[in-house]
Point group: C2
Chain length 834, copies 2
């Protein structure tokens, strides 16, 4: 056990090494890596009685819990018992947490409050202190500004690099290899508006080698080089992830949800994870795998925020304050991913965050805006647009169309539920069979299959974002896309009159496109299941939206043709004349995309707001809302978990879903440890254990904290000590304090007991003890986890209601989660961490 | 004391009568109306220890708190002690609350959870029960739909009626008196595009009488008739408010905030308030007073929601569930006021709501959208626009312009702070002097002054919304508005080349407009202070925005002229050429409006989002945000309260601001009642008081609840009984149960004590007792009100930590508020209610 304070991002090597030996991560769980210990947790109990009683075995009581509570957090009180300055660390590492443990929100918030009070008090004394107080107050805003700038800049860089490498698979720019296809042809003077994408400077590999773009040989050459590049990028990505930061794989959102709920995963948001994730994200996207960069951008933004937190003492030293910043960073991530700042803030509020005070809302919004504008000034899409998919529809929708929109919602819900089940099953196979031992082989195999199948079909060959963009697009007359391969009005009637954007019959080009799209839909649906969860950074937003957009566009074109050929039919009569533009297939694609994304993630408000920000028209919110609602209801019927919650459960993180409620009511005594058959609870006594005894007890158990009682004979609860604080303090005392040996008494009471005068001086550790651990009585009902989740506790001590504060046992968050799993007929041992 | 259950909206007559005799309301406080009692409240204490202990003086303990807890809420438990069906009321009125009291969130939520569990359990038994379960699950959505439809329709009606009556002051449509000016001229075929507002069918009163629109006589006639109409409308409004629903005055937002925090004000959201508010709002707006209809629309929407709640048992019977619906209704109100559904939801979240679960977020959004679309299909503005002010700007803004934007923010903050201070001072004068006794005279006087001063100036004569709309507008070439009275390019240079929308020098028309605007600014600033708080419905959004918009437009035109004449100057060089349209005065007006509204209400995110929804362009968010932020910071420097919080405090409502923290830390014992000098606490004993004794105790005190102890000699806490439940139960027992007389024992313990066999049977009231009141020990620190606010308690009982559960005293929310007022050197007796 190290006594050096371990900051989140400093820890990458240690956890990196650990992880490297265990490639199980991203396959569901750090199997056997961190054996679970049975305490040290946050618990959620809903009971009827709260009793804020202080410890009544600790004379004198009038010293008050308050100062004690402060000093245990290493913080100066106003009373005479103050020992330390709240702005300085007394013992390095005291008050920090171990890896894979849950923080104590109450302690962190109390620490921050004390710190704030101290600064305010000082500010009246001198000008320097006043300046310090002002700079402290504005440091939150400055931090948000920096997070926004950094995340926006990184997102811009990722966009540009991914564009360039994606195009690299197909060809090269003769003016310079560092130009992407689009960039290359911008510079060309020979490009006309019609053929924006064709210019002599850009040559496919086949063209470059054979000298001609025609012929089967050139095509096969292109095909092969495409696959080779894809394999190379994928290999690079998976190797870098394995070598530098195993945490860089996946989308990161399940872990960020868990971290925001108060869990500690050191290195998950560190600098090496950031660098590796940024680089490998570009490679993974460029390899053509069916994954998106939007989810991982949330992880990237959170890494930026965590690293920048180190610049400000206020955030560096307080895990609760840091989580406020991380919540805002999650908003920043979505803001730069879609160019939707308001949607990003609501995403953070609805989907990711745990503790989201109003102050954070306002700051998140600020950071999200800064990031969006930074991204726009980098202008990676080359169109000065803020949003990822810019859509402009011309025709309004009709009420009857709600039927197909709801149908798309049902499709999205079904696909979402099915996807989650299939993906979790596949991840479980990966986790339990030999497959998990060969992540590189797995990635290469999936990449090879993807590249092989994707190349011949233009809709799978293009990147997910391009595909969605094309599907959302409304056909204009100039459009050369296959999807707009309608017969021209002139072909139909010789008059040539009528609205040129009116519904038209499908031509052969469109039929080809539809076939290709149907195949692409099938392929995307299958390959995404095996792709998400591999050891490369991979987001789910884009693949889900792509599936939905294809389905929606197919339905939309179908509806359009139906309307064209049956405009006098019962359904279309009155609103669909042949001259009018009555069905917009692009809108169907958009609704389908929302439905599928909703089915997979179970987002609601944030999903609709993100989509609203893409179109900018309130008009289209109703279809989006109808689809998102239907999709959520349908998917919820098959299982209430979204993909992120499912992965959290698969990995065994201690995450308590705020929406969940106990179906059956239990009493605290049913959930408590130790059980009747277990060995008795490991406890410390307040003034009768030696340093050696304490060390032996700590060594022999894996608990993260120990209750302190009066004595073994009179097990009345006095306080609670965290394992980490205990070890650090003893270690520190042995180094600095003279005379502390193994035989020294460890004293938690205020006055040490009378001792032999020749004995070693006692080690007084009252300062690190939580004098007022949260206690419940054994018959407290546990109805809803929600109300006590708000208190943010680590554990409850159970005391007897009859004998004053007789300690009976402990309940940790893990115990609650195990109990809930048991009730739901799931394996209680699937909860791994504390 | 009535035993009939009194629903919120049924109570209008009673409270109406009460209020009629006391015109103090809307002047700040129901002075002396409801004398404060000293208990029955919600308390917010932050302590370190929570002890969920059950009552240990009640044998046998193993019966568990849980079933007991259920049965006290009139709810069936699963255990053998179940007595009642949770879906039926056992005793009418049991479990409801008295007027001007705070609800017990924990009890309400527990009731709802039990109800839900019961329905789920039943649904497995029969198809009918399953259908009931499904309809119950969807009733929330149905309710939201109805609220949206009703509020949208009402808002549309109010818009149309207010338009019509406002125009009525100036003239009449010859085709039918029921047409507004605009409507009248739509129908006219003689109207050209240029003179949309002039048509022969519409005649001013002077024109109608004198036959000509020219001449001083006609003008004076118009002037006089304008004043007469204004006085008539105002008189009607104030008389109707006084006669039918005194609660209909003001904006309603302070009271709704208080109601959402758990306070009961019967009749405040009832049907008579709704009808009166709707009618008088139209009249007040039409009278030309400096007030808006946007704030009161929130009240109207909440009334709709409260009335519609009566259709669904789930919401009718549960105060906590009903408050979820009311939170959504607040969103609906803003949604219809501005056509900004997302802004409305964020307004509800940020500004109004107290308890806002994610489920409510999604439902609010749904309701807000339905309402917005209902309003649009009514199309009251006649332009198919959803938003109140539709703005389209052409030119981007430059970074240098942030300086004037921040300047506008400072102006808004200063004005906001000043306005709050002046308005509160004026309301206090009204409250304490004889002025408050003549509300009709006051309203008529203010209306007369407003009409007299406003008529000659066209910018004050037009309605606030029209003024803002004109100020936000960007000048196009065709614009005939005085504000666009620039010299034409042809006048400047003979070339006539250049962008026709480029900056131009101001012409005489514009100078006149600027003078008029400056006078209008001064007038609006003064008159709004005395208008807000009168006994008519009055909103603050529009007047605040108008002040800001005028200031912004003035600054904008100033900047524009500066740029035109100094385009080679240091500041404008590089981005402001003479041919370019570089300054948009309309944007300045918008930024100013946001700044002033922010200064008055201290809204942040919702303000910016509402403004964003008006423009639809993310580009202009940065100026808005800069102004809103500056404005809030500047205003906060003068006092942290927004106008709504200031009015809450003025009225003495028991509202605990979530943002507030205790500056000094106190112990529970310092806040507790009774004080040392007070008479001892009024308590009930568990099995030694008679019905007569209990009644005498209840009669002699005004407390809303009583602790139950073992006996006077052994004051150990057993439970807590609410006054209302106690009275209703005794009354009910006397009526229905044989043998209950004054000498009957009232028994709260499980087993009645041995009694003389010939005595009357005991009255067993264990069912209505809260067996597990929240308790704290006397030395619990009270640091932050926030963490315990979340628990939603009514009161805490103080117990001794040494002697098991010895009752020491009680802390109510009022005690906390008084304590906070004392610390802040304010009058603690300003807190009036429980």
């Amino acid at each position: 056990m190290s006594t050096v304070p371990l900051e989140m991002s400093d820890f990458w090597t240690k956890s990196g090494f650990r992880m490297r030996e265990h490639p199980g991560y991203c396959n569901g769980g750090f199997d056997g890596l961190h054996p679970p210990s049975d305490d040290d947790d946050m618990v959620d109990i809903a009971g009827a009685t709260l009793d804020f009683s202080s410890t009544d075995d600790v004379p004198p009581l009038s010293s008050g819990v308050y100062e004690e509570h402060q000093s245990r957090a290493g913080v100066n009180g106003t009373g005479p018992s103050s020992l330390m300055d709240p702005l300085e660390d007394p013992v390095p590492g005291l008050g920090t947490y171990e890896d894979f443990n849950t923080i104590d929100w109450v302690r962190e918030k109390s620490k921050d409050r004390d710190r704030h009070r101290e600064i305010t008090k000082n500010s009246r004394r001198s000008t320097a202190a006043l300046l310090h107080s002002i700079s402290d107050a504005f440091s939150g805003w400055l931090l948000m500004l920096l997070v926004g700038l950094m995340a926006g800049a990184l997102a811009g860089g990722i966009d540009i690099a991914a564009h360039w490498l994606t195009d690299m698979k197909e060809g090269i720019c003769l003016d310079g290899f560092w130009f992407s296809h689009e960039h290359c042809c911008w510079k060309s003077s020979e490009t006309t508006f019609k053929d924006r994408d064709r210019c002599p400077q850009w040559q496919t590999w086949g063209e470059l080698i054979t000298g001609t773009s025609e012929g089967a040989f050139s095509y096969i050459l292109n095909y092969l080089i495409y696959i080779v590049w894809a394999l190379f990028f994928a290999f690079l990505a998976v190797t870098l992830v394995r070598a530098f930061a195993p945490y860089a794989c996946g989308s990161g959102i399940p872990e960020i949800k868990t971290i925001l709920s108060g869990f500690i995963i050191r290195g998950y948001l560190g600098k090496w994870t950031l660098i590796t994730k940024t680089v490998t994200l570009v490679l993974a996207v460029s390899s053509g795998l069916s994954l998106g960069k939007e989810g991982p951008l949330v992880h990237v933004a959170c890494c930026c925020a965590n690293i920048l937190c180190h610049l400000f003492t206020k955030y560096r030293k307080n895990e609760a304050k840091r989580r406020e910043v991380l919540s805002a960073a999650a908003a920043v991530g979505v803001s730069v991913a879609f160019g939707a700042p308001i949607g990003g803030v609501l995403f953070s509020l609805e989907e990711v965050s745990y503790y989201f005070p109003l102050k954070t809302l306002w700051r998140s919004f600020f950071a999200a805006l800064v990031a969006a504008f930074t991204l726009r000034s980098i202008n990676p899409f080359g169109n000065s647009r803020l949003v990822l998919f810019y859509v402009e529809f011309h025709a309004p929708w009709h009420l009857v169309e709600l039927v197909p929109f709801i149908f798309l919602g049902i499709f999205g819900g079904l696909w979402g539920a099915l996807f989650i089940k299939a993906n979790i099953a596949w991840c479980r196979i990966r986790k339990t069979t030999r497959l998990g031992r060969y992540p590189i082989v797995e990635v290469l195999a999936v990449t090879a299959v993807t590249a092989l199948v994707a190349y011949p079909n233009s809709y799978t060959r293009m990147s997910g974002a391009e595909l969605i963009s094309e599907l959302f697009n409304d056909c204009s007359l100039l459009d050369s896309s296959q999807l707009c391969g309608y017969l021209q009005p002139a072909n139909i009637s010789e008059t040539g009159i009528g609205n040129s954007l009116a519904d038209r019959p499908a031509g052969p080009g469109l039929f080809t496109a539809l076939w290709q799209l149907a195949l692409a839909l099938l392929f995307k649906m299958l390959i995404t299941v095996v792709t998400f969860g591999m050891k490369v950074p991979s987001g789910l937003f884009i693949p889900s939206m792509a599936v939905g957009a294809i389905a929606g566009r197919l339905l939309g074109v179908g509806m359009e043709q139906l309307a064209y050929y049956n405009h006098d039919g019962l359904i279309f009569k009155g609103w669909c004349t042949p001259e009018a533009d009555c069905i917009t297939p692009g809108l169907y694609a958009m609704v389908g995309a929302a439905a599928c994304l909703g089915g997979v993630t179970r987002m609601t408000v944030s999903l609709v707001v993100i989509m609203f920000e893409l179109t900018g028209g309130l008009e289209y919110i109703v279809p989006l809302m109808a689809a998102a609602m239907t999709s959520k209801w349908v998917a919820d019927a098959f299982g209430r978990e979204g993909i992120y919650e499912a992965h959290i459960r698969l990995n065994g993180y201690p995450f308590l879903e705020p929406k969940e409620e106990f179906e059956h009511s239990s009493l605290a005594v049913d959930v408590m440890r130790p059980r009747r058959s277990d060995p008795p609870l490991a406890v410390l006594t307040q003034d009768s254990m030696t340093v050696g005894g304490v060390e032996a007890l700590v060594e022999s158990t894996r608990y993260s904290g120990f209750p302190v009682v009066v004595s073994q004979e009179s097990p009345r609860l006095v306080g609670f000590v965290l394992r980490r604080d205990l070890l650090i303090s003893i270690d520190n005392a042995r180094k600095r304090q003279d005379g502390v040996v193994g035989a020294s008494l460890v004293v938690f009471s205020e006055h040490p007991p009378a001792q032999a005068p020749d004995g070693p001086p006692p080690l007084r550790l009252r300062g690190i003890m939580d004098l007022s651990p949260f206690t419940v009585t054994d018959h407290t009902p546990m109805t809803s986890p929600d109300i006590f989740r708000k208190l943010g506790l680590r554990q409850f001590c159970l005391v007897s209601p009859r004998v004053t504060r007789r300690l009976l046992g402990i309940i940790t968050k893990k115990d609650i989660l195990k109990h809930m799993a048991q009730i739901a007929n799931r394996d209680p041992d699937s909860i791994l961490f504390n």
